[in-house]
């Protein structure tokens, strides 16, 4: 990563959810995402990680501040920033092939071209032979592979992933992390990956961004200078994991103290 070209940047982002009481989800957040990097975002639960990702996707509007994609402010959702969701968001009425073709159809590709292109990505995620199955016939891991293929087929500038592996069992999850790194290595897409699992973040990320408790700010951004494939039990891996967990514990304690105060009369 010698050429650190910024592909996505966030300036002075603030998000308030109006209501009684209003909730400040994100406060003056600045960040840069570099072309081709794998950025992981961790934070205590309920801190606004998902809100941040939804703003980047354009599914949520910031209260103030802006998000720039290649220098241009984003306007709403678009296929240059495709999101892979936590829950399975595959279209159940479409086959695997149909799902992966979705974005390609919208781009105006002919049916033949769309099929050829979609098959490339189905092969990339290792699902050749399953292309005519419907989502309900697939396992959880396979569904997320389809979601990944569907997102990659759009050829986005940035791939946004919102805890995509959290519904999987531990073994499948580790396996999918390895697969994801292989696929990322082959495509060199910029990935922003939100997770609450520190091990996952350290295993996957070039950098791990730690958010504070609500309102979310950046507490620290940590470079993960560990050779891939990473060994989850190497001392440097465990040390980094401990360091991030300590940061998170501080944040969680803040929330606990805050709520204890509010319980007092």
């Amino acid at each position: 990563m010698s050429l650190r070209e910024v592909v996505l940047s966030v300036r002075g982002l603030k998000k308030v959810f109006e209501g009684s009481p209003s909730v400040v989800a994100i406060e003056s957040l600045n960040m840069d995402v570099y072309d081709g990097e794998f950025l992981c975002i961790v934070g205590p639960s309920g801190c606004g990680k998902t809100t941040l990702l939804r703003i980047l996707a354009g599914l949520e509007k910031p209260t103030s501040g802006e998000v720039l994609l290649k220098g241009k402010p984003i306007k709403g959702p678009g296929p240059d920033r495709v999101m892979v969701f936590q829950e399975y968001s595959l279209f159940p009425w479409r086959t695997v092939l149909g799902n992966v073709m979705f974005g390609l159809e919208l781009k105006g590709l002919s049916r033949q071209e769309a099929i050829r292109e979609a098959m490339k990505y189905i092969m990339l995620v290792g699902l050749e032979g399953f292309e005519n199955m419907y989502p309900h016939e697939l396992s959880g891991g396979m569904k997320q592979r389809v979601a990944l293929a569907r997102a990659l087929a759009c050829n986005p500038d940035v791939l946004l992933m919102d805890e995509p592996l959290s519904a999987l069992d531990a073994q499948t999850r580790n396996y999918m992390q390895e697969e994801l790194i292989k696929i990322w290595d082959r495509t060199r897409k910029t990935i922003i990956f939100v997770t609450h699992n520190v091990e996952e973040a350290v295993y996957l990320g070039d950098r791990v961004m730690v958010l504070t408790a609500r309102p979310a700010k950046i507490k620290s951004t940590i470079e993960v200078n560990i050779e891939r494939p990473r060994n989850r039990f190497a001392s440097e891996f465990l040390k980094l994991r401990m360091k991030i967990l300590d940061m998170l514990r501080e944040e969680i304690e803040k929330v606990m103290i805050r709520s204890n105060h509010s319980l007092r009369p």
Binding site: P77, M83, S89, P92, W93, L106, H136
Partner: protein, 261 residues
Amino acid sequence: MKFKNLLLYLTSLIAFLLVWELYCQLIVRNPMFLPPSSRVFATFIELMIFGRPPSFFLPYDMLYSLFHYSIGFSLALIVGFSMGLITGWIKLANELSYPIIELIRPIPPIAWIPITILMLKLTDAAAGFIIFIGAVFPMLLNTRHGVASVEVRYLEAAMTLGATSSLTLIRKIVIPAALPSIMTGIRVSSGVAWMCVVAAELFGVAPYGLGYKIDLARFYLATDIIIAYMIAIGILGLMLDRVYRAIEEKALAWRVGLVIA
């Protein structure tokens, strides 16, 4: 499995006809009150092939009733689907139309017959209108429900994949996601439409059709004709339902655990 089911169906059907036959032969003993099943069967065949004067000819009346059904039902499908789509997708449209729909909906189609006859006279259009009134609401309500309950995650996923216009979202997400409800709407709507065909024709809205002829048969005290026509109504209704079920099964092959009962 399939064969066993068929055997069971046939057994229960034969048992039913047998009890009916014995009841008429041994207890009623007057075919004008209730003719035995054998007699009705013979009449049914006769009416299907030769007909009986003055104007009882089953194939013709079947087609005529299907013609009434098609007018009312197709109109109900078009209006019910489009209104269901609009009211399910646009909240304001739903709120504006809600009181009107809820007020008109409980009025039974039969209650519309007098005003329909006054407005449209004794015409096929009048029959079509009664059928439309009955069939439009199940179609509208089911479509509206299906459209309004499309899961947000599908819409959001589609939006990030590049489906930015409402029209694209409706075409590519809303309609396919709401299809199970829409298909239910079609089936329920068809059932109601078929009942309304008989009701409208019974009132003499049109001078042909199964409903009109069973009432005409009453004047001739031809009970066997009445029952033969009733059976024809039942068989056609069943066949229509089977057709929509088959379409539904085909269109919803992607669904998990779809029950075809």
